[in-house]
């Protein structure tokens, strides 16, 4: 019974985080473009949960986030789901190297994730339509997005980290009381 409740609570919290970040990305940060790019907050979320919670979380959260983007993008349906899912998986592989208070690994991972996202999007959606000027897209779209995303991800990362610690504490308290830990 408590297991079930914990599961539900965790799912609800993650859903709320994705919900808020999606709204932030599409409705708030689109008014604050730097160098005509908006930060990719959802990649931060997928990546952070990936290396914090492991592969399985990364895959599922990536899939759900991607599906959400697919619904609102009006492109090929399922494409973002695929990209975000693999980003979640890749980040999940670094779970063993992850320690909460060190900011270097999260920053590197989020930056790399966004870079991969940019390059894959370019390959799937632009190179296929014979837009071959990769260096132009790299300098004008992909790299500015990575920088801006990293800037914003510091806040997103700490938010998710504290939220996660809080949930863990709650769950530990619950299991202590029952005495099965």
């Amino acid at each position: 019974m408590t297991d079930y409740k914990q599961y539900l609570r965790r799912i609800l919290i993650i859903a709320a985080v994705i919900y808020v970040c999606f709204l932030l990305q599409t409705s708030i940060f689109s008014h604050f473009q730097l160098a005509s790019v908006t930060p990719n907050i959802l990649v931060c979320v997928v990546s952070t949960y990936g290396f914090m919670k492991g592969r399985k979380y990364g895959i599922i959260i990536g899939f759900c986030t991607g599906l959400l983007l697919d619904v609102f993008s009006g492109n090929l349906f399922g494409m973002y789901a695929l990209i975000y899912m693999y980003i979640g998986l890749l980040n999940g592989m670094f779970r063993k190297q992850f320690y909460g208070d060190d900011l270097r690994l999260p920053m590197i991972l989020i930056g790399t994730s966004d870079l991969i996202y940019g390059i894959v999007t370019y390959l799937i959606l632009f190179a296929i339509r014979s837009q071959y000027d990769f260096s132009y897209y790299l300098i004008n779209i992909i790299l500015p997005e990575v920088v801006y995303t990293l800037l914003v991800s510091i806040f997103v990362y700490y938010l998710i980290l504290h939220l996660n610690n809080w949930v863990d504490k709650l769950e530990k308290k619950g299991s202590d009381r029952i005495g099965n830990y």
Binding site: S27, F32, S36, T38, S73, G74, F77, G78, A81
Partner: protein, 287 residues
Amino acid sequence: MRQRKAGGGVPSKYLLMILSIICIMLLFFSYSTGFTGGPLLTISNHIFIPMQKGIDFIGSTIAISSADTKTKEELVKENEELQKQVEDLNASISNYELKLKELDELQELYELDQTYFDYETTGARIIGRGTSNWFNTFTIDKGSKDGIEINMNVIADGGLVGIVTSVGDSYATVRAIVDDTSNVSATISSTEDNCIVSGSLQSMTSDNVILFSNLDDDDDQVAIGDVVTTSNISDKYLPGLMIGYISSVSLDENELTKSGTITPVVDFKHLSDVLVILQTKESYKGD
């Protein structure tokens, strides 16, 4: 606790495989049928759109107040300039009204009742911008409830903005003409020559222009500054909607057709309200 969880449930290997297969199936399915979400659209409609409406309002207010840092002198000066402009414009309006009257009389003589610009429209607010930096799409706060359908044209500032690509109950997604995947069949209004206008992310980010190609202009009559409108032969765009002005022309390598760039009339970076034309090209043909 952790061990027990890792033991139960589906291993991540299989999970990944299953979800990958689902994704690939969805991709093929949407490619072959044009599926854009189905029941998920309805769910997102009820969960996201109300919040987006409110939050976008907050976002735009913050953006305005942060841009609102002009000093009093600047404002006074601007006000004077604008007053002067108003006077000039008033003068030219009365001038145009006279000409318009003349035009009406002449049109009556010719019995021309083919006026393109009295399409029925509905106003809509942009509540969410594109989900990535690669595409120029946005969400508006009107949907099938307000009579909006796929392939309806969207205009603003007297120019073409884009086309509706998917519709939910109370929202719709619009693809702008500056989007990299957009192609519009267009006409140069001075010479009536047809061309293809295609959006381009590259030229849009560097110079704020879009591209045109396949222009057949043997007599070299098309010049910089000519007005480009949507053409009669387009199967999705209504005729006579303004796209922009030609900003450069050059001969293609095949020495038969010309291509170049167009400056759009719509300011795509500061768009907040648009008009949706409640008529698709298919129904227009039927009239």
